[in-house]
Amino acid sequence: MRMKYVLSEVLVGLWRNVTMTLAMIITMAVSLFMLGGSGLLYQKVGDMKDLYYENVEVSIFLKADANEQQRTDLETKLKADPLIKDVTYVNKDEAYKRFQQMYADAPDLVNAVKPDQLPESFRLKLNDPEQYKNIYDEYKTSEGIDTIVDQSKLLDKVFGVLTGFQNGALAIAIVMAIAALLLVANTIQVAAYSKRREVAVMKLVGASNWFIQAPFVLEAVVAGLIGSVLGLIALIVLKTLAAGSSMAALEGLITPISWSEIFLTFPLMAAVGGLVSAVTAWVTLRFYLRV
């Protein structure tokens, strides 16, 4: 019976102040959506860093007129370098094969390029990708070298953009969370005020504190959970929309976000939504009801 009482009080409470409840749920949903999105991006950036930096190379392209002697000298020097883990020599034919692979969906481009137009190169794997600068300084003056390209420089830019998105989403999530928090506090105050007579009688006859507080706290928790479900739905909609739009073109670059990853974000969103609401409501009650 007590559970039934508490639950019916929760429903009545949510309905009594329905505009406020909706405002609370919407803010909560946006905040949690941003939080979930930020969490997913964080995970993705992590995955991609592992994947890309594992394969990241520094390429030393040779001049077209570089002679055999220069090439062997350079190779010997590279192989002896303690900063370098692995050296691969790519001749013109191999370069052409890689080129074909890379641009497989642009046959016109592939046909227009002949193998001997592509430069020979050394592909280096560094022990520590951060040491690129030293490699660059060391070899830029060597004879027969055209350019030195560090792929990680490009990756840093890509990750910089992604991390920017992620931080932006997190910032919005936090700002919205503060708004949600204030709305929860306000809603609970209004609810407590509209039930002040009941609360006074309950305190007087010795109802336990949890029994007095439970309907209010649960009211906030229910709103938080509904908000997290809406946030999840927003993420699902976003993924569905992204799959069918220009975002799909980025799929090759950004490892795709799977459904399971989206659904695994839900417990985080629900926990944050429920917990933040519960704690806010409880703290508000301590100040407001002094039970």
Binding site: M1, R2, Y5, R197, E198, A200, V201, M202, K203, L204, V205, G206, A207, S208, N209, F211, I212
Partner: protein
């Protein structure tokens, strides 16, 4: 015991010592602001003294932790001048509410509430709302609510303050009847008529001090 409220120039209760036996009926009288209501609040553990101890039912409540307060309150019934009924609930529901929020089942309420409403003389009016009842009847509901849990002590803070003399007498008869069941009744009042008629123990307080403590006293 002594109680000084913050920002007050003099203590609300100044070195007051009073002992009430089980089953007694005691009036606390005195002018407004004399400190009588502070005594009620202390018995309810709503305020704690700055000095001295409050012992209720053999338990020292002075140092009681606030989370123990709800359970402690279940042994005390309370009636106020302004009734404090829930306007959107019937007489029956008002009394049942007090039972249900401390964990009693609906079945218990169905058994006990009509009984206690009958006792306070509201048989047949169980399903009236407070606004459909007279002041005296509303106070009877409040008494029923205070007594339904069979408390050891009944505190009444000017229970007749809003009632006409005849109705007041009826409420006093009711409190007297409750007292005869063994319940200690502590009543704060400045209704001289009632005090003079009842001839019970009278403790008079003035400016936070006890100036008189008399068995079978009058208002004076």
């Amino acid at each position: 015991m002594t109680k000084t409220y913050p920002k007050a120039s003099r203590p609300s209760l100044d070195n007051v010592s009073v002992s009430i036996e089980k089953g007694e009926f005691v009036f606390f009288i005195g002018p407004s602001g004399s400190g009588k209501s502070t005594i009620i609040k202390m018995l309810l553990h709503e305020v704690t003294p700055n000095k001295g101890r409050v012992i209720v039912n053999g338990k020292d409540v002075t140092s009681m932790r606030s989370w123990k307060r709800p359970h402690f309150r279940r042994s005390i019934g309370c009636v106020f001048q302004d009734f404090r009924l829930l306007p959107n609930r019937t007489a029956y529901e008002n009394v049942a509410f007090a039972l249900e929020v401390i964990g009693k089942t609906k079945a218990v309420a169905r058994r006990v509430v009509p009984e206690v409403l009958e006792l306070v003389g509201l048989g047949g009016k169980e399903h009236r709302y407070p606004h459909e009842l007279s002041g005296g009847e509303q106070q009877r509901v409040a008494v029923a609510r205070a007594f339904v849990n069979r408390p050891l002590i009944l505190l009444a803070d000017e229970p007749t303050g809003n009632l006409d003399p005849d109705t007041s007498i009826e409420i006093m008869r009711l409190l007297d009847r409750i007292n005869r069941t063994g319940t200690t009744v502590v009543m704060v009042t400045h209704d001289s008529n009632i005090v003079n008629q009842m001839r019970r123990r009278v403790v008079e307080i003035e400016s936070g001090r006890i100036v008189r403590d008399q068995a079978r006293g009058v208002y004076g």
